[in-house]
Symmetry: C2
Subunit: 326 residues, 2 copies
């Protein structure tokens, strides 16, 4: 009923419609209409009430409500099941629970805020309320666990392309799956998997996307290295539009990979990379070294040309040296 009332208001595109008309059209009591209008306001819809004219929808909600996502969804598998929360500890934790309990492929988890958002290598992720897209997607790919590292490149390619299409910001990918604008991080991706030795049960692709965060809102410890798409684009960005664009692009790339393998994703990754050709410092589990990032190989490993020869990096951290330091 709430959705029906919302549809009536939206169809009236900002014009007033009386409570009596709504009540008559939808065959509900005036009291029920009033209660649903109040609930819609709590969901962030700006609805004006006039004692004589009735109700008018002045502004859509800016929340990532399932109904709003569904209205703009163009993907068919990704997002067909949406779990929405005002706050979670971490969308990946919730998605992993759902996946373990057998949720269908394409299930997504979104939260307005994360209390303990997680990044790669057990780092935190700043996830303020209503300002970003804190999203996890469950996939059940028919890949070997040995191909899992490439799924993270796939996600980076899809998200980077969707972001640039929607915002025009001109972001690029830092190996393996951070997305940067002007040297600062706007997106982090954390992919986790549950697998048997020769088959993946599920992977959860978690994305932290800084959308409408003002530069001065970032905590001091990341203020110099993080920014948001709003800063990059010079305007507020619709989170629902961006989220649905990301799901559509991820579904498209995922379908290509399932049908034809990872080759085209690796090519796309190279085109969108800001790491290749750069002087980088590699901080591995047990060693640190410097070299020029020259390529990624078929496994998704980064190839670094050093004074000792070619090094292959599959894990750890890579930092790009500022041009002035080279």
């Amino acid at each position: 009923m709430r959705t029906a009332i919302l549809e009536v208001l939206k169809k009236n595109s900002g014009q007033y419609i009386s409570g009596e008309d709504i009540s008559h059209t939808l065959k509900v009591s005036r009291t029920a209409v009033w209660k649903h209008i109040r609930a819609l306001k709590e969901d962030g819809y700006a609805i004006e009430a006039h004692p004589r004219l009735g109700y008018a929808l002045r502004q859509n909600t800016d929340r990532l409500l399932p109904a709003e996502i569904k209205a703009q969804l163009t993907s068919t598998v990704l997002g067909r099941e949406i779990h929405y929360f005002s706050e979670l500890d971490s969308t990946n934790n919730e998605a992993k629970k759902l996946a373990t309990n057998g949720c269908q492929e394409g299930t997504i988890v979104v939260a307005e805020a994360q209390a303990t958002g997680r990044g790669r290598l057990a780092r935190g992720w700043f996830s303020p309320h209503g300002k970003g897209i804190w999203l996890s997607v469950v996939l059940r790919p028919p890949f070997s666990p040995m191909e899992a590292a490439k799924c993270t490149l796939m996600a980076a390619v899809a998200v980077n392309r969707a972001i640039n299409e929607v915002t025009g910001a001109g972001c690029g990918i830092k190996w393996p799956n951070d997305i940067l604008w002007n040297g600062r991080k706007v997106v982090g991706i954390l992919t986790e998997m549950s697998a048997e030795m020769d088959a993946i049960n599920h992977i959860v692709i978690g994305m932290g996307i800084n959308v409408n965060i003002d530069q001065q809102e970032f905590p001091s410890e990341i203020a110099a290295t993080a920014t948001s798409l709003a800063v990059a684009a010079g305007r507020q960005v619709s989170r629902v539009k961006l989220l649905t664009a990301i799901l559509a692009e991820l579904e498209r790339v995922y379908t290509v990979v399932k049908n034809s393998g990872f080759a085209s994703v690796l090519d796309d990754w190279k085109t969108q990379s800001i790491t290749l050709g750069q002087q980088v410092d590699v901080h591995g589990i047990d060693r640190t070294f410097t070299g020029v990032a020259v390529d990624i190989d078929a496994d998704g490993a980064l190839l670094i040309k050093t004074s000792q020869g070619l090094e292959r990096v599959l894990a750890g951290d890579v930092s790009i040296r500022p041009a002035s330091c080279i």
Copy 2:
């Protein structure tokens, strides 16, 4: 207190000791002694009670009770935390829950019976009460997820060696990690992992070991392909002794791998293999073919020489052709 009473009975090695003596030695009431004796009987200890002479332990329990395992444990990490159940759906499911909730490395889960024991490729595993070792071990290896397939070979090598030491049965490994005696399966291993793209959170090594199952007890659909160690050895096998031997051997091999890599495990696997040198049928996800299994490579993949050349198999099923069919 129960453990203390059991120790007194065991120290008396089958001789009677009066309830009064126990009560006096351990400073508990006669009623408490009687209650604990009753509980020990329920745990499977055969204790004879004589109105005048007191209590005598006639036979140790044959259950995989934590106290019995600990008494014979020689490993220091594996088995330091034991979760024991009379029945579970699957020991791997329970171990995965414990691992996700942060249990320490080496935690084990044992059950007398599994309602829905699982094998590789979503198959079931016949797990009757008290007749096998249905065991899962949690490891937190510092390996890349790309090395995970080799953990399954590591487990096969350790279990096969422990089994042959304890029973003298002469079992061998069928790729990747079934253990066979006389062409019939006695052990299945299901390794599952939770990982980020470049780091393993945990792996759970699940083992289904047919110990004291009579040949006629197997359900008809597996009667021709399964057997037990008791059948192979021609005698009942102590489950506690075998379980602790497996933990000790797995810990030893795991330590070698952590310190020096997988090379020696791959060599051991080849020595213990019954697949190499055989004519095999390979049933992959999307193809079926025939050839001679000639080697495993550094990733643990099976190499098959076919009329078209060398094929590399990382997933799927391999069946060995009976010699008479070649």
